[in-house]
């Protein structure tokens, strides 16, 4: 990690770290391929970046669990994704940087000044506005203020994780800190949401790489997520799809069906309504993903997924009530209450009808049918 922007180009910096030009071309080619960009873009991105000064990136963390940063930095073996850290000049990241206190903060302000209008602002965590912003404060300043100041000179804001993109877990009912996603605070800068709890490392890297090499925001969906990674649902690409189509569903964890790899729809899988790249790129270097490991998708890249009912109730179940939960007993109470109202209305209507029927009739034997 360097202090401020280095004078060296990306290529020179990579060479210093013993990363050859060809390794970098390979990294860019693989990333371009994963993003379904035209194949010539890989070497083109590499060439473009190698001869440029390292782009400045300021990484701010607010109300977050650090899972997003962990997703990017932790791996079983050094992955080629980590090359992103040699490509950019990560001028501020409070988890990774060696400096602390005043030294760290002055590094940040200097980087923001030197690269005003050009640095990429990466944010993870939601931003609380409750109690005047006191729920998340660093160096005596609230997260809201830090974000607003940092956004002023940013070329674009990349929100890493569902918390920064949509509010995430702090935003969930009852939202005690009045947390907001970044898009709820900043409205005048291009925002790219890389959602997921955590997001996939390849998605973070690919999005950053594409932005710093082309200077352009990629195609985004209605939730401002890059369409190239969030264009399909898990269900669209799930390897268990044939079982769904045949109606072979596992009924409980580890039952006969589950052991045969049947669809996890009845165990609450939210795959059909979740947009992410887990089913294709997979996790931990392509090892597996939740459904392959036998657990349904929890929909972690979707807005408000914490409040959409139990992770274990199927998409076709009723879902009113607190946090989308409803039990048969509540349904029974609703039905009973409604029936009582119905009885009252029925008696009243019958009364009105009977009055309208011929009023003076002597009572006699009437068949018990009515």
């Amino acid at each position: 990690m360097t202090q401020g922007t280095s004078e060296l180009t990306v290529g020179e910096m990579l060479l210093k770290y013993g990363i050859s030009r060809r390794s970098f071309i390979k990294f860019c080619t693989a990333t371009a391929s994963a993003m379904a960009l035209p194949p010539w873009m890989g070497p083109a991105m590499a060439e473009q970046l190698r001869n440029s000064p390292r782009p400045s990136v300021v990484y701010l963390s607010f109300q977050e669990c650090t899972g997003c940063a962990e997703s990017l930095t932790r791996s079983f073996a050094p992955t080629i994704e980590n090359l992103i850290f040699n490509t950019i000049s990560l001028d501020y990241n409070d988890t990774l940087m060696a400096a602390a206190g005043e030294a760290a903060e002055s590094a940040r302000t200097k980087a923001m000044q030197d690269n005003f209008g050009k640095y990429v602002l990466v944010v993870d965590g939601s931003v609380p506005t409750g109690a005047g912003g006191a729920y998340c404060a660093a160096g005596g300043r609230s997260a809201v203020d830090i974000l607003r100041e940092a956004a002023k000179g940013a070329a674009a804001i990349v929100c890493v994780g569902t918390c920064a993109s949509f509010g995430g877990i702090p935003f969930a009912d009852p939202n005690p800190t009045t947390a907001w996603p970044v898009s709820g605070i900043i409205s005048d800068k291009p925002i790219i949401n890389v959602s997921g709890c955590p997001p996939m490392p390849e998605v973070i890297t690919g999005t950053l790489l594409q932005f710093i090499s082309t200077g352009q925001v990629p195609d985004l969906d209605e939730h401002r997520r890059p369409k190239v990674f969030f264009g399909n649902t898990i269900h669209d690409r799930c390897y268990r799809r044939p079982f769904y189509d045949q109606g072979k569903f596992a009924k409980s964890f580890d039952d006969e069906g589950a052991r045969n790899g049947w669809c996890l729809y009845e165990l609450g899988c939210k795959g059909p309504t979740t947009y992410n790249a887990c089913a294709t790129i997979k996790w931990n270097g392509g090892t597996s993903f939740p459904i392959q490991s036998g657990h349904g998708c929890i929909g972690c890249s979707e807005p408000g997924f914490w409040d959409k009912g139990s992770f274990y109730s199927a998409l076709s179940t009723a879902a009113w009530g607190k946090a989308g939960e409803v039990a048969p007993r509540q349904v029974g109470k609703l039905a009973a209450g409604a029936a009582a109202v119905g009885v009252a209305l029925g008696v009243a209507s019958a009364g009105v009808s009977r009055l309208r029927q011929r009023p003076s009739e002597p009572h006699g034997n009437e068949p018990k049918g009515g």
């Binding site: 649902t233 729809y265 059909p272 408000g304 009723a318 409604a338 009977r354």
Partner: protein, 219 residues
Amino acid sequence: MDLLGFARGPALKVALAIFCVGVVWRFVGFALLRLRRDLNKPRVSLLGSWAGGLVTVGSRSWPHPEFIGRTGAGEALGYSYHIGLFIVVLLFEPHIVFLGSLFGFTWPGLPSSLITLISVLTLTLFLAVLFRRVTNPVLRMLSNFDDYFSWFITALVLVTGLAATAHIGAPYEKLLAWHILSVDGLLVWFPFGKLMHAFYIFPSRAVNGALLARKGAVS
């Protein structure tokens, strides 16, 4: 709240409540209506009139031989799509999960591909039935808004359900939301139109049969 959350949540709750209120209201109202006093001497005992009622429930299930020529095709058509609807609603796994979440118990279902086939057949029969209603001069004269709207709301549920299962026309979460919203619409309309025949059919046959038996007529 997104459309799907709304459809499965507040909309479903309100729709179910209106359905229960409406059905019970109409049922109780109908049950408490006074019958015109019959001054005849009853030809059978009370038990006999009950038995007559039950017989009528069965005998009205198919037209008398004299009428089969004219009405047989229509009856067969009606039976077919009703059976199709019951199979699709009650034996499709995601539906079983839905009903299980309301009632607290489930039952085994049929393979999804078979259900899809039956749904398509049912939809075809549905269109045939509408065609018949519109082209047959007697039926056309008798039909009103109630008939057409009841047909429409049920057809909408069928079409949105097929679209959702096939994942065509829109993103899946929108298709599923529209399917559930159309079910909500069906539930709200149900107690106030001809769809109530589902609850009335057997009691009304029974009452008619009992009254006829009391008069000593064949039921």
